[in-house]
């Protein structure tokens, strides 16, 4: 049984687990997936890549941003059976660029980057993505 208390303008309710077992009757407004104001995930409603997605961290905006964009775009629009197999040149250019900035793109993460490109990323909150993008130096 939930217990309720009022302290001036503040109401306090204590609830047990059983109290909250029944589904909520609160109604939420349906979201419009095409709302232009909303923060978009990695893929925009029109199919384009959202380069400003927090999930990408600084990949599209750093010194190798252009190479990353061309490699990832190529992969995204690739219709080959093995997706991205026609994008080897772009990925190589990206890798060469990244090797020039070892403290920005630690070499151990090369494989991680390739894996990242090969699956759609969920939109994660900024703090977590900021944490993800900057790896430790060890």
């Amino acid at each position: 049984m939930s217990y309720c208390r009022q302290e001036g303008k503040d109401k306090i309710i204590f609830v047990t687990k059983e109290d909250h077992e029944t589904p909520s009757s609160a109604e939420l407004v349906a979201d419009d997936p095409d709302d232009p104001y909303e923060e978009q995930g990695l893929i925009l409603p029109n199919g384009d890549i959202n380069w400003n997605c927090p999930c990408l961290g600084g990949m599209a905006s750093g010194p190798c941003g252009e190479q990353f964009k061309s490699a990832f775009s190529c992969f995204h629009y690739s219709t080959e059976e093995i997706k991205g197999s026609d994008c080897v040149d772009q990925f190589r250019a990206m890798q060469e660029c990244m090797q020039k900035y070892p403290d920005l793109y630690p070499q151990e993460d090369e494989n991680e980057e390739k894996e990242k490109s090969s699956k759609d990323l969920e939109d994660t909150p900024v703090e977590a993505s900021v944490a993800k993008e900057e790896k430790g130096s060890s």
Binding site: M1, S2, Y3, R5, E7, G8, K9, D10, K11, I12, I13, F14, V15, T16, K17, E18, D19, H20, T22, P23, S24, S25, A26, E27, L28, V29, D31, P36, Y37, E38, E39, W51, N52, P54, L56, G58, A60, S61, G62, P63, G65, E66, K69, Y101, D103, L104, P125, V126, E127, A128, V130, A131, E134, K135, G136, S138
Partner: protein
């Protein structure tokens, strides 16, 4: 400068020959008039002719002399000029030769570009987020950040939390901390290699972000799309972002107090403040934190942790009734204050500082109610004053209610000028005009400003959040208008023996949280006996372990605090976005699954 000197030389030389010649000429001028006057009397023609011959000859002779002198002088002047110019060229080429040894081109690029497409004034979180957003959306964009801070852009939250909990004795040098997922990172958003040198910015192939550190913009010419730095440099821009943040406020009582007191005072905001306070905390016996808000409470807890191991006395004074008194409802603020006391802090609420003086080698703080506090060092965390000095020269509006530059819902002040971060007083379509001083807001507004600077024309819509950790028992995330003057409804899980804050921390996915040694603390947390399923009446001192607090304005939820529950921010954001009136907030609370981890 050389030209002026030469012109002066030449002028002097030109003047000198005129001197004696002018006198000669004057004499001659005078003579004819006198002779004309005196020769009114018709005299002998012969003597007159002789006279005229002598006069004529003298005049001609003088004229010839003058002409010769002038010509000689001119020649001398020309030769001297040539010598001097040749010598100065030698001098000029040797230092510039030394300077340009690095660059191959005979004309070195100027240190600061005279024009940049994107100029960001301020080098903090909002500016960095904007730079990243611009670069993501505009391929090859050239972005210049001008920062008064000598450091590259960094994040502030760890300065009052994670950095204090680090085990690394060199943390003040490395400035690295451990995140919730165990991985380490630096407070700097990016290492120096990310940035392009400012002099190369206009020329580097794919553009980039350059940072001018330790430079302040002192004047803004909106009509001419140009700014002036403190050293006189002028930079023109196409689009400009003002992200100047704020400066810590000081107490009038301390400002009046004099230099002896000021030397024992820290106004905490920047990296160097962290470094200096960390050092001081190892040297003194007692530190007093004035201020009971986020920064004051976090610093008091961080210092209180050290108090236990180092015998440091930590006192916290503030005018409110409890910690976070302006943010949390009274019952929660009181509960929080108790927790802060458990962190080793001597919390003194309802304390208003009347005066501060030096006595012996210590500080004496006198409160308005007569109490006295003796301490060695003061940390003032009494608010932030937005940096709006540029408003005057730029002709931009400053908001009188909230402070800061007044901007519209798209963060725009004028056609090519946006403002983001702590300094922006903006229109929030859902919650009304406001100014927010939190880290995530700086990121969200900086990113939005960057989008709008590259043509997006989007309003502030994605609601930013904030969080705070005050020791192992109190960690919360919040969103929207979290103002303790609003009526609130709090729904809390009745605590069972199973609930520990440590499990909540490990589950956290939406924030940088400190790793807390909660095992020792958890046993001290009072848990209500719940062996039987029968409900019992909660008594005073009930443990508010986990729950959600709704802040209402006209029956609509405008703010939510997630109390010791994590990973639920998206649903909180959704409820605020909907802006609906809910009849029973307990039903809304069900959406948060507060009993689960």
């Amino acid at each position: 400068m050389l030209c002026c000197r030469l012109a002066a030389l030449g002028a002097r030389r030109r003047l000198r020959p005129l001197g004696p010649a002018a006198v000669l000429q004057c004499h001659h001028l005078r003579y004819p008039s006198r002779s004309l006057m005196s020769s009114g009397v018709p005299g002998k023609a012969g003597s007159n002719l002789l006279f005229y011959l002598i006069v004529g000859g003298t005049v001609t002779g003088a004229g010839a002399y003058v002409y010769k002198t002038l010509r000689e002088n001119k020649e001398r002047f020309t030769s001297r000029v040539t010598t001097i110019t040749a010598r100065s060229q030698e001098n000029a080429s040797s230092p510039s030769g030394a300077a340009s040894r690095g660059s191959a081109a005979p004309e070195a690029h100027p240190e600061v570009p005279s024009h940049v497409p994107f100029l960001l004034i301020g080098g903090g979180t909002a500016a960095f987020a904007a730079a990243r957003s611009i670069r993501a959306r505009d391929p090859g964009a050239r972005v210049l950040i001008v920062s008064e801070d000598p450091a590259l852009p960094y994040m502030r939250p760890p300065l009052s939390k994670e950095l204090w909990f680090s085990d690394d004795p060199n943390v003040t040098e490395t400035l690295r901390f451990k995140q919730w997922n165990g991985k380490e990172r630096s407070i700097y958003f990016q290492p120096p290699s990310f940035y392009v040198p400012a002099r190369d910015l206009p020329f580097v192939e794919n553009g980039g972000v350059a940072v001018l550190c330790g430079k302040k913009v002192v004047h803004m010419d909106v009509r001419g799309n140009m700014v002036k730095l403190s050293d006189g440099t002028q930079i023109s821009y196409d689009k400009c972002l003002i992200a100047t943040g704020g400066s810590p406020r000081n107490l009038p009582a301390i400002e009046r107090a004099g230099k002896d007191v000021q030397q024992r005072l820290t106004l905490f905001r920047k990296v160097e403040d962290f470094k200096s306070l960390e050092k001081i905390s190892r040297q003194v016996k007692s530190i007093t934190v004035i201020g009971g808000g986020f920064l004051g409470s976090e610093l008091a807890c961080a210092l209180g942790r050290r108090a236990r191991t180092r015998g440091l006395e930590v006192i916290q004074l503030f005018p409110e009734n409890g910690n976070m008194g302006k943010v949390l409802p009274e019952y929660l603020s009181n509960w929080t204050t108790e927790k802060v006391r458990r962190e080793g802090v001597n919390v003194m609420p309802n304390a208003v500082v009347k005066s501060v003086s030096v006595s012996g080698n210590r500080l004496m703080i006198k409160l308005k109610d007569g109490r006295k506090v003796e301490t060695d060092h003061i940390v003032a965390a009494v608010g932030l004053e937005p940096n709006v000095e540029l408003a005057k020269s730029a002709g931009l509006e400053v908001d009188s209610d909230f402070g800061g530059f007044r901007v519209n819902a798209e963060l725009q002040a004028r056609s090519n000028i946006w403002v983001a971060g702590d300094a922006a007083c903006f229109y929030d379509i859902k919650l009304g005009r406001r100014r927010v001083e939190h880290h995530d807001h700086a990121v969200v507004s900086g990113r939005l400003a960057g989008e709008n600077m590259t043509g997006a024309a989007k309003p502030y819509w994605h609601q930013s959040m904030f969080w705070s950790d005050l020791g192992p028992d109190v960690g919360y995330e919040a969103i929207g208008l979290v103002d303790s003057t609003l009526p609130t409804v709090g729904v809390f899980a009745k605590a069972t023996a199973k609930d520990t804050p440590k499990s909540a921390t490990e589950q956290s996915g939406t924030g940088i949280r400190s790793e807390s040694e909660t095992e020792a603390e958890a046993s001290e947390v009072p848990t209500s006996p719940s062996a039987s399923p029968m409900p019992h009446v909660p008594k005073q001192g009930e443990d508010y372990g986990k729950g959600v607090v709704f802040y209402l304005r006209d029956k609509v939820v405008v703010g939510i605090v997630l109390w010791n529950i994590f990973n639920r921010m998206p649903i909180a954001r959704k409820i605020i976005k909907d802006g609906e009136e809910h009849a029973d907030l307990n039903e809304v609370a069900k959406l948060f699954n507060i009993h689960e981890d």
